[in-house]
Amino acid sequence: MIQLGILASQISGHLASPTSYESIATVTVGAGGSSTITFSSIPSTYKHLQIRGIARTNRTQVQDALRVRFNSDSGSNYAHHYLLGDGSSASAGANTSITGILIDGIVGDTGGSNAYGGLVMDILDYSNTNKYKTLRSLSGREDNTQGAIWFESGLWQNSNAVSTVTIIPNGGTLFNQYSQFALYGVKG
């Protein structure tokens, strides 16, 4: 007898029921800004996490990045690769032994008014204690005078389950008002 569920999995490999994606928590930055976004006490009951957001910082440049840390680890335990399109050429690069995974494509304070970078990042198999943790992201910024689009991947060289995710500006000190980060859980 054909097991229909198995057959379907063989066809697509990516089936999701309407209840497999859940909102866990959201932070919207208020007036005055915020120096740190923290999602703590993340349940271990999902397979993957996704963070979606828009962001702008007080860095006095047109662009900034953000830095993602797990379980409050600020050591040099992270690595990062990127593929960048800056509007004139495509390039790639990497960083090793850094203090957080970099996600670029964030608008700085001198970027066009009302413009915010957009980002979608996936933290894969975040509660598996047998492997280092991998993050991947697509992010970008545009303000009608310049822009950049980024594919990035990051590694946290630690096999602990991720229970806390901390996000800080990389160059600036505050996320500007209306920046928003939403954490979702994806069931396996």
């Binding site: 999701a16 309407p18 209840t19 497999s20 994606y21 859940e22 909102s23 866990i24 928590a25 959201t26 349940p43 979606r52 957001g53 828009i54 593929l83 960048l84 399109g85 800056d86 509007g87 004139s88 050429s89 495509a90 494509g105 066009g112 009302n114 413009a115 915010y116 970078g117 957009g118 980002l119 979608v120 697509l138 992010s139 970008g140 910024r141 545009e142 303000d143 009608n144 005078t145 310049q146 822009g147 950049a148 689009i149 594919f151 209306y178 928003q180 939403a182 979702y184 859980g185």
Partner: protein, 161 residues
């Protein structure tokens, strides 16, 4: 926890179309659109709230099988979605971020895959005076019925807690 990633609408072109518009977008945080498109012009226009002013800008990068490139456009009168003019369909995965707020310009991320041509990623900004997006239109560049039969577009709503 609140379940989300909710199907809002799905459309399959039974005949060639000149435009396809989704309104009544509901109350979510982000919208993800999965669009499999074919058009004899090789692309279709994408507009929010029927805005035809020069309020769209974009930066993109793509690989065409031999090189990787990047470019950008300012003051465009629409965004663009990939739509193959060949025998295949171009897949677009489109994230419209924070579409319902009236405080920021709207940022959109697109992943585009044309198996017969190229692979790319785009970031867009829609600069109309900050307002909620209430409709999303896919439009033939010529105004004629060039969006081909079999093209499919599905909208999902993602709601933050």
């Amino acid at each position: 926890m609140a379940s989300t990633y909710t199907p809002i609408a799905t459309y399959t072109a039974a005949t060639d179309q000149s435009s396809i518009t989704f309104s009544s977008l509901g109350s979510y945080t982000d919208i993800r659109i999965v669009a499999s498109l074919k058009d004899s012009n090789n692309y279709v226009l994408l507009r929010f709230n029927s805005d035809t002013a020069s309020n769209y800008s974009r930066t993109w990068m793509y690989g065409n099988g031999s090189s990787a490139q990047s470019n950008r456009t300012s003051n465009a009168t629409s965004a663009y979605a990939g739509a193959s003019s060949g025998s295949d369909f171009t897949l677009n995965t489109i994230d419209v971020m924070n579409y319902g707020n009236a405080t920021t310009y709207k940022t959109m991320l697109i992943r585009q895959n044309d198996a017969a041509g190229d692979v790319g990623a785009f970031v867009y900004l829609w600069r109309k005076t900050p307002e909620a997006i209430t409709s999303i239109s896919f439009i033939s560049p010529t105004g004629s019925a060039t969006i081909k039969t079999g093209s499919t577009i599905t909208l999902y709503g993602i709601k933050a807690a």
